[in-house]
């Protein structure tokens, strides 16, 4: 297990190093599919320059990162490439240790359940054999490290990779059972971009399940724990925000970061759904549609939490996917994050007949994005409709990809108790090369 993993890491590092040094790096860092106004490296450099001059980095409406991020890069800007490549490696080593512990636990559980005839007959094929599960962490690591989306995101030095790392750490801490760390990391992830707020519900459900507290609104134990967790979360958020205020000495960052995310003033085309609508909309209706689009991201939490309250880990996966598709400035780095977790549900593969079709759609769209961009902007033979058509198709493919496991899961609810441990080990494996 260690040998293939090491080989994988070496290959991944080599690819990124080669690309960093080639002329493709500049080309990639300008692609709109890979960088957005929120996480482009060019803007980070601009913000740092303004900071060095003593001016607020948020003046001029170029820079939209959080103050903690500026200060992180303030100290590491000369080693930026190394930061983007190396940061999750520490995380990756820890995951190896965890994976081996987890496997033993899973098989013990599975064995006992089999012996006590707890699995209904038709779910037997969903049981995972030791051999399959042995390789899931490696597959998840491979899916993330060698995913072209991740590589592009890393070479473009988009801060999306760091955001992904924080989310992965949060998931790890949640699965490990540490409510404090989980709350703090969730607060950090929310502070970076607001959308991880929706991950509060699945994390809470997971802890409740782990502590055997039934989800009953009349029970005091439920409220007790919920308030504790909420307190940790909100408290950390307040502390982090206050720290940002003291670092920069002003509240400028709130309209620049969160106002920017919510009000979507920048309509540069990207792989998301917002830009086209807002480009053609009358000013009169803009506020209404902003509310509709933003509520769309947060709204799915409620029905999904009710439906999947027995399976909070799967709920986390679904939430991350929904954020990646419906957020205001998505990039391929966000897409790569939830794609990495797909092998954890590979036992559903036998029912995912459409995965081939969906993969072809996503592959074709990824190839067509630069072609139609070229035809639109440079050749003048196409217009924004062509590019948006491909964007729509891409998002449709993604939606189809995540809905299928959901419906499959709904039809086969038995036998998924051990997905927790499996997911845990695979989360570590995937953590997460930027």
């Amino acid at each position: 297990m260690a040998a293939p993993l090491t080989l994988l890491l070496i290959v991944a590092v080599t690819i990124r190093a080669v690309l960093f040094r080639s002329s493709l790096a500049e080309l990639i860092s300008e692609r709109v599919e890979v960088v957005s106004p929120l996480n482009a490296w060019k803007r980070v450099v601009e913000g740092l320059a303004l900071l060095d001059l003593g001016v607020s980095p948020y003046s001029g409406d170029v820079f939209h990162e959080t103050p903690l991020m500026i200060y992180l890069f303030h100290f590491t800007v000369d080693y930026a490439e190394i930061v983007f490549m190396v940061s999750p490696y520490f995380v990756d080593c820890l995951s190896c240790l965890l994976a081996s512990l987890d496997r033993a636990k899973i098989f013990r559980k599975q064995k006992y359940a089999l012996e006590s005839d707890r699995y209904p007959a038709d779910c037997l094929e969903l049981l995972r054999s030791p051999k399959e599960m042995f390789y899931i962490p490696l597959k998840v690591a491979m899916f993330y490290l060698l995913n072209p989306f991740t590589i592009l995101s890393c070479v473009a030095k988009s801060t999306c990779g760091l955001n992904n790392a924080i989310i992965a750490l949060f998931i790890f801490c949640t699965l490990k059972g540490s409510a404090l760390l989980s709350g703090i990391l969730l607060a950090l992830a929310t502070y970076q971009s607001i959308y991880p707020l929706t991950l509060f519900a699945p994390a809470l459900l997971f802890f409740l399940q782990r502590l055997y507290i039934p989800v009953n609104l009349r029970r005091s134990s439920f409220w007790c724990f919920t308030l504790q967790y909420a307190f940790i979360y909100v408290g950390s958020l307040v502390v982090i925000t206050g720290l940002s205020f003291f670092l920069l000495g002003s509240w400028d960052f709130i309209p620049s970061v969160y106002g920017f995310i919510f009000s979507v003033p920048d309509l540069t085309p990207n792989i998301g759904l917002f830009w086209y609508f807002f480009a053609e909309m009358f000013e009169h209706f803009r506020l209404f549609f902003i509310c509709v689009f933003q509520i769309n991201v947060f709204f799915y939490t409620i029905p999904l939490s009710i439906k999947l309250k027995e399976h909070p880990v799967f709920l986390i996966f679904m939430q991350i996917a929904i954020i990646s598709i419906f957020k205001s400035y998505p990039t391929v780095g966000d897409v790569a994050l939830y794609m990495a977790f797909l092998p954890a549900w590979s036992h559903l593969y036998r029912f995912l007949r459409n995965i081939f079709l969906v993969s072809c759609v996503l592959l074709a769209c990824s190839a067509l994005f630069p072609v139609l961009w070229h035809l639109w902007i440079y050749a003048g033979s196409a217009n924004s409709n062509f590019y948006y058509a491909i964007t729509l198709l891409f998002n449709f493919g993604q939606t189809f990809l995540i809905i299928r496991p959901l419906t499959r899961r709904r039809k086969h609810p038995g036998g998924f108790d051990n997905e927790v441990s499996c997911f845990k080990s695979s989360v570590w494996k995937s953590s997460l090369k930027s």
Binding site: R353, L357, A367, S381
Partner: protein, 543 residues
């Protein structure tokens, strides 16, 4: 969604598709070819039309009368060119200044990656001369460009002469609202590339040039002139630009309209309009013209100086005067009125043409008709070393299956080659789709030759026969066939030996075009199409 989620219906659909796979493929392929050739059939094509935004060509008067002056200027230019042994920069500067233009020069130099002995050059250095006629009444935000290349020998003198005569004529007009730039460039495309890069402050091809001192606003449209004789019988409109890009169709329609109005002959691909579209000869001519355009567009070269403007989103076309010894000759004044009032005419309406390009078409094939064109002879050169190396690498790839069999997992299994074929077919489909979007002719030619053999290949077919078929339909041989077909279509058929030499020079031109102007055909063929073909070659030799 129901179709995809209901397992029974899905199973029925899948069974249907797998059973009828071969007939569906064959039908689709034949239908594609028939539909494509149907483009040359007149009832299926759109007649040339003026879109609603363009100012009618009937609203413009043509008043040029200085044809003889143009010819005398041409003779002067020729004399000075011989004396200077290259471009007579000082004479041009003085001539333009005498006509009231603001004159500037730009020097450039480029070292080719290997000597190009088609045109006998290795280190290319030269100077461009351009004069700007400022608009009298308007702010200087937009410009139009008229350009004539300065070629060695006897060619293009009349074009330069007309350019200068035109400058003089325009100087007296008061209604211009855009600046007009008169450009004489040296070393044809290289000089033009240097000028365009200097004008737009880019450096995509590694050329060294001196920065431009004078500038005139963003260029809206450009016309390139190539006139090499005093007597012209028809004007050929050249549209194909770099990477198969074409200018807006409205430009073509405008030119037709003017030619018809003045009674001059206008040709496309050197061929005239014919009215007997319902006869076999009529259709054959239309099809020949269309195939000529397809071949020219597919090779990705810029067939006139205008081709480089298209990359900067500037609509441009080249006009070449042809003397084909018809009895109906056009004298210089009429040419002047045509070309040049096509110029005040064309230039006046070029603005609305640019506006109308929002509804106009930039992806089209023109099946218009027949005439003679001079054949350029391509001698082969020291570039043979480079070209033969490329061919050697290509041929060495044929040995790949023997070397990689051991490394591939699933070797010797049915599953293995099927997975490889699936991946390779998907890759080919996406590649051909993207290529067709960017350069439709290239995509079509590659699809026609690659699809039948790749779709039907399996390791169980007779190896020798299939290997031969694959090699004969590989990209390299496709280029060879295209060379022969092209020579047939321009009515200058070549023997096998000459054809081979032409083929080698085509490859070297492809590499040079990529190095000099950023043409994408050679990298596409070498880095994307060829590996795809190699994958299918591997499948054939799967054991």
């Amino acid at each position: 969604m129901g179709l995809l989620s209901d397992p029974n219906r899905r199973k029925a659909l899948t069974n249907l598709l797998t059973r009828l796979n071969t007939p569906i493929c064959i039908v689709c392929y034949l239908a594609a070819i028939v539909w494509f050739m149907g483009l040359a059939f007149e009832p299926f094509t759109l007649r040339t039309y003026m879109s609603e935004n363009a100012m009618g060509s009937t609203m413009v008067e043509e008043r040029f009368s200085s044809g003889e002056r143009a010819l005398s200027l041409a003779k002067e230019f020729d004399a000075h060119k011989r004396k200077a042994g290259g471009m007579p920069v000082e004479w041009l500067v003085k001539a333009m200044q005498a006509r009231g233009l603001e004159v500037f020069t730009q020097s450039f130099s480029r070292k080719l990656p290997f000597p190009d002995e088609n045109k006998e050059r290795y280190m290319v250095g030269g100077r461009n001369v351009y004069g700007i006629l400022r608009a009298a009444r308007a702010p200087r935000t937009e410009a139009l460009v008229i350009t004539a290349p300065c070629s060695p020998g006897n060619s293009n003198n009349q074009a330069v002469g007309l350019l200068l005569a035109l400058a003089q004529y325009f100087r007296n007009q008061i209604y211009w609202a855009k600046d007009i730039i008169f450009l004489v460039n040296e070393h044809d495309l290289i000089g033009m590339q240097a000028w365009l890069e200097g004008y737009h402050h880019t450096n995509i091809t590694g050329m060294e040039y001196s920065p431009l001192q004078g500038r005139a606003g963003s260029i809206q449209a450009a016309l390139a002139l190539e006139l090499s004789g005093d007597v012209i019988t028809s004007l050929d409109l050249i549209l194909e630009g770099l990477n198969g890009q074409l200018p807006n169709l409205d430009l073509t329609n405008l030119f037709y309209a003017f030619c018809q109005k003045l009674g001059a002959l206008c040709t496309i691909q050197g061929k005239l309009q014919r009215n007997d579209w319902d006869t076999a000869e009529g259709y054959t001519h239309a099809a020949q013209t269309m195939m000529l355009m397809v071949l020219k567009q597919a090779c990705g070269r810029s067939w006139g100086d205008h081709g480089l403007f298209l990359r900067y989103h500037i609509e441009a076309a080249s006009i070449r005067g042809i003397n084909s010894f018809r009895h109906y000759k056009t004298d210089a004044t009429t040419i002047g009125r045509l070309v040049f009032p096509s110029s005040p005419g064309m230039l006046t309406v070029l603005t609305p043409v640019v506006i109308s390009h929002l509804t106009g078409v930039a992806l089209y094939l023109l099946p218009v008709h027949l005439q003679e064109m001079a054949v350029e002879h391509f001698p082969v050169s020291e570039t043979e070393a480079v070209v033969l190396t490329a061919i050697a690498i290509y041929t060495a790839g044929l040995a790949l299956p023997h070397n990689t069999q051991r490394l591939l997992s699933g070797e010797g299994t049915e599953q293995g080659w099927k997975v490889l074929k699936l991946t390779a077919l998907l890759y080919l489909a996406v590649l051909l789709g993207c290529t067709a979007l960017i350069n439709f002719s290239l995509g079509f030619i590659l699809a026609v030759t690659l699809v039948p053999i790749t779709a039907s290949i399996t390791p169980h077919m007779p190896k020798a026969l299939c290997a031969l078929a694959m090699v004969l339909l590989s990209p390299a041989f496709t280029i060879l066939y295209c060379v022969f077909i092209y020579q047939e279509l321009i009515e200058a058929p070549v023997s096998v030996g000459e054809g081979w030499m032409l083929f080698l020079s085509v490859i070297s031109q492809g590499i040079l075009d990529h190095a000099l102007y950023g043409s994408l055909v050679y990298p596409l063929l070498a880095l994307f199409i060829y590996p795809c073909w190699l994958m299918f070659w591997n499948i054939l030799f799967w054991n």
